[in-house]
Assembly symmetry: C2
Homo-oligomer: 459 residues x 2
């Protein structure tokens, strides 16, 4: 008789992956190159190094090295919270009465509460190695800011976090967490940058935006000695760091000979989804598996399911390099949604390309359905999930119920990106039944698309 | 060469303990009996069963059965979050430069955020088995209320939580968590009980107290069909359930042949400390070890270090059975302190007796020193600790630094009872440098002692 699969499929710390998985190496058709916004030519390493750490740039541009070593000094940091548990959802399976096997990779066991720490630690480690003394970044929902604050406390790097002003006011505890770890937190827009001062002059009462916070963080990084800018999603080097999620999940499943039929992740900028699927997708591209991959995005910000595949800016100020991606347009204004980490107009270029080429499915979910699933999961599995992660939970439950209908014993794996302890206002809104679903109209989308750059590559 | 001890000393889920450890079986001198407050005679099972579940009462009065089986149906629930990790604090050891080995048992990995879930699950399981359909309890800081809400959601038992009114206002997210898990939360004092109405009539603007919330929860339990009252600390059956902490810690350490020289826990009502030390203390009593045991309490509520060993009530309304314990008097008003879980006038009778008999040491710490240690730990080990747990961290760091001074390579084990994600106002106060230390004067203590019952047993 086969050995019972445990609730937690642990790896030992010796099994923390030694390499990140660079999915681009397996892709027959690569994502289109990043373009310099001035010349519209492919961006060079030198272009990008004005803003980013050298190693991040090298990884960003590397399309061919399949396995990129994780430095030993970084693996030491990872030992503080990794390997992250892969959990068999026995309780959920039983409650649903499904023949499916459900697994989830739980990335919320660290204090930052999400998978973001994986890339925060990597980028901070490289900054330290490069001899930098400070970093800047922005944060919206706050997960990335918390993760960076933790990493910088450990590696003794000064950190300035531009936090979207309205978010810093609505999430005082996220702000407190970031400050407890010693980072300087500046509500954005601020008077500390030209970009901030300009926005404040035009609109003194603005609550800020992620695009504005990015502009402030980039400006400060460029103007400060031994300082660079880091960001927590969308770009390829961030996906690369997050492939530690997929590497661990695959190693743990392989121990028990388990092959997932369906892999599900929520998708905002795409880093968690891309990281989770990386080694599994490689098998699919290489014809070794026919696993289905499902991206789940909020109906309020549907870059896969209703976006365009086009070159676009990363920020609303239109200052970043251009990425070809599934996008709603940098000027798109997402409706209010508690899954702050998924409210971004664009999607990572690798995932966008895979979606275009039919390797990746996508669906969108409205907020109230997502929270129904979140609360169901919390009561049954005992973990209060982040609003972002709950998008994946919703799809996993739906797929498991479909198995119940058909009698198929499929293996479902999803990414539980984080916990919801700092998202209680969302749960309060759900409990009070004041939560709403807002789906952009075609007119809303048209306004977003009108902001796409008018360049030959977009014709 | 000895195998390197991993950062996390995992047990498999097959190794979830099959028994609780009833420390009283090893004590040569037992704690004094619980007294009926009317007759001043030892309370009988029938006396206690009017309020508590039958199995809890049986365990409360059992002084001789060393190993009490954990039911299989409960062990299944424990699989959702146990075994809890035992962590080698390599990062902290390195940062302190100490030759000591430091370990901590991390009980904060579940959503309720603390060890409280261990007893909440047990008491709810027994209530279900007994055929009860609802339970009542009180909560101050909120950990216990959260844990009970989770357990009752799982076992499908209706739960009413009387939450100290001022606490429900100051901790809206704790309230939201409890409500998300489906419990009815009533700020106390309320109009739902005679006790509450009486207090409100006398003092309409009161923010409530734990003593008042207990009175309301007990009254509702007694007046409701198939309903009993549960509580989360102080009593012996709660300590018994928490012995799962010590049982797991000992099993994990035994695998590597590690014998702790010093075991440290924070102490409010005593359940976590008593649970952590249970099997280790048995060895000390039986002459098999000379481990030191250290209880750490807040200087604002020093029941061990400045209290009296006397019979006292558990609540301020003087309605509960009388326990002989280290107490500041039921009328003692603890100074403001962010470690809400440690603000209780009395201490579990088993621990009180062990302290009297010299088996257990105790020390008190002021709040700002505790938070210095908390933030140091958070930055180094990556886990933001609960204010309560940070009392143990402070003592562990002090003992490790003493080892550095003497060059001794001692093994220190402490209980990390929980995480601080719902205690960010405390960290905000610390970050803003507005946190104060308030130590009761001798006059404050005299007022508390004046509330001790004037009975022959206290002469």
């Amino acid at each position: 008789m086969a050995k019972r699969i445990p609730t937690r499929l642990y790896l030992s710390e010796d099994e923390i992956p030694r390499n990140w998985y660079n999915l681009r190496a397996d892709m027959k058709d690569k994502p289109d190159p990043i373009l310099h916004p001035g010349t519209l030519q492919p961006a060079t390493a030198a272009d990008l190094e004005a803003v980013f750490c050298k190693e991040s740039v090298k990884q960003e541009l590397d399309e061919t090295t399949r396995l990129i070593p994780i430095p030993e000094g970084l693996r030491e940091f990872y030992q503080a919270y990794r390997p992250a548990p892969l959990i068999r959802a026995y309780f959920l399976e039983k409650a649903l009465g499904t023949p499916a096997e459900i697994y989830y990779k739980h990335e919320g066991t660290n204090t930052s509460g999400s998978h973001k720490l994986n890339s925060a630690a990597a980028q901070t480690y490289y900054a330290k190695e490069e001899g930098l003394t400070s970093l800047t970044t922005e944060t919206g929902a706050g997960q990335w800011g918390s993760a960076m604050a933790m990493a910088c406390a450990y590696y003794d790097i000064k950190l300035t976090v531009y936090m979207v002003k309205v978010s810093s006011e609505q999430k005082p505890y996220r702000k407190a967490l970031i400050e407890t770890y010693g980072a300087e937190l500046i509500p954005s827009p601020s008077n500390t940058t030209e970009a901030g001062r300009g926005i404040l002059a035009r609109n003194p009462n603005t609550g800020g935006s992620l695009g504005c916070a990015i502009s402030e963080a980039v400006e400060t990084a460029i103007k400060t000695d031994k300082c660079r800018y880091v960001l927590g999603s969308v770009m390829n080097h961030v996906l690369l760091h997050q492939s530690i999620i997929g590497q661990e999940a695959k190693a743990a499943l392989d121990k028990y000979g388990i092959k997932p039929d369906i892999i599900i992740g929520c998708a905002g900028g795409g880093s968690n989804l891309g990281g989770l699927i990386a080694p599994f997708m490689a098998d699919k591209i290489n014809g070794k598996s026919d696993t289905r991959f499902i991206a789940v995005e909020p109906a309020s910000c549907p870059s896969f399911t209703r976006g365009r595949y086009a070159y676009d800016f990363g920020d609303t100020a239109k200052t970043t390099p251009l990425l070809r991606m599934c996008t709603l347009g940098n000027g798109f204004i997402p409706s209010s949604n508690h899954a702050g980490g998924l409210r971004y107009h664009g999607m990572n270029p690798i995932l966008s390309k895979l979606y275009q080429d039919g390797y990746l499915e996508a669906r969108s979910q409205v907020q109230t359905d997502v929270f129904d699933a979140a609360v169901q999961f919390a009561k049954i599995e005992g973990i209060l999930p982040a609003p972002e992660s709950s998008h994946a939970i919703k799809a996993a439950i739906d797929e498991a119920l479909e198995c119940k209908r058909t009698g198929e014993k499929k293996v479902i794996l999803f990414g539980l990106t984080g916990t919801g302890y700092f998202d209680m206002t969302a749960y309060m809104s759900y409990n009070a039944k004041t939560m709403t679903d807002s789906i952009p109209t075609d007119e809303d989308l048209a306004k977003g698309f009108a902001s796409l750059p008018d360049i030959p590559q977009n014709k």
